[in-house]
Symmetry: C2
Subunit: 201 residues, 2 copies
């Protein structure tokens, strides 16, 4: 790739990130991005069709990086060790976040964090499916599999969000503990109505 192109692309991403951490996405104009990146108007539109496409590509750049490395981790498919494997994947993600590659933390804690948390969640779903669901490990519960996958991924994203909003005071290990406690029953595959200790009706 042409050095000029890469330089411009980086400048746009960088400028966009700066603006995103300061003000609402909807209220950021293309003109502001252009000014912050110090490029010409034509140049911006040569790189990105619209502001929305820019956001999409930024998200892909950020999260594909994170989840791809997690995808590479070997999934352990023994039922007991499953919890350790789960642990290691989620713990790995938290540690990765803590390193704050690409200044992703600013985006996950700013006014626009919901945009990025949404992307994070959808990537996480794919990760969980590839690690567990494909092997049928999530099928032993009385809950529907897609309900389960959604519950686990959204719980993790909410956990991360909670952690960041508390300035990440706790170590990643503690957060992993919280998270696993919260979703423990569904991972254990228990919860069939007959055996359940509680009776809702």
């Amino acid at each position: 790739m042409d050095r000029r192109q890469q330089k411009t692309r980086d400048a746009i991403f960088s400028a966009f990130s700066v603006l995103l951490s300061k003000k609402n996405y909807n209220r950021i104009s293309v003109q502001e991005i252009i000014d912050e990146a110090n490029i010409g108007r034509t140049t911006f539109y040569a790189h990105f069709e619209t502001k929305d496409f820019l956001l999409k590509e930024l998200c892909e750049e950020l999260f594909n990086h994170i989840t791809d490395t997690a995808m590479g981790l070997p999934a352990n498919h023994n039922n007991y060790i499953c919890k350790c494997a789960t642990d290691s994947v989620f713990l790995h993600l938290l540690k990765h976040l803590q390193e704050n590659d690409l200044n992703i933390l600013e985006l996950l804690s700013c006014e626009n964090n919901e945009i990025f948390l949404r992307y994070f969640k959808s990537n996480l779903k794919r990760l969980i499916i590839s690690q567990y669901a494909e092997n049928g490990e999530l099928r032993n519960s009385s809950l529907p599999e897609d309900y389960l996958i959604n519950h686990i991924s959204s719980s993790f994203v909410e956990t991360v969000s909670w952690w960041i909003s508390h300035n990440m005071k706790e170590p990643p290990e503690k957060i992993t503990e919280y998270f696993l406690q919260a979703i423990e029953p569904v991972l254990n595959g228990k919860g069939n109505n007959e055996n359940s200790a509680f009776r809702p009706f």
Copy 2:
């Protein structure tokens, strides 16, 4: 309130809802709302300062209605019956949604559903706090109370979202069952590290 004012206000809300169920919030212009509502430009701005304020008031109208009735329900503070009370509050909310007052379901399932789910969640948090947290019922867990409240409310919202996206095929009772199974451990107040069956490390 002046009949003319109420009529205009309703026309704006109605037009806005129609547009929201069809296209992305960001791409709806004030002019489109004006045209759909068949009112004058001046009139719109006499009622709402901006499109964002209109959204805010619409959300308040929708969700205050729902949670206010739930707030009125008597909270049962016995530890065992707690689960039934929880049950009845959440089940009540689901049944309420099923009745589709104010055509809220269209908004919860359209392209803009995240906007409304966010509002729903924040109202839900207040509801949970007023019903349980204020009495210290959520303090017996090893998880931080605000983490718990967030986990419960977001899990419920995700459950609702999952339900709607599946065209609400299951009865509200079944969904309540799913939800309570998913969050069972945190409500049981167990999960103290010492007694927990799983060891993350």
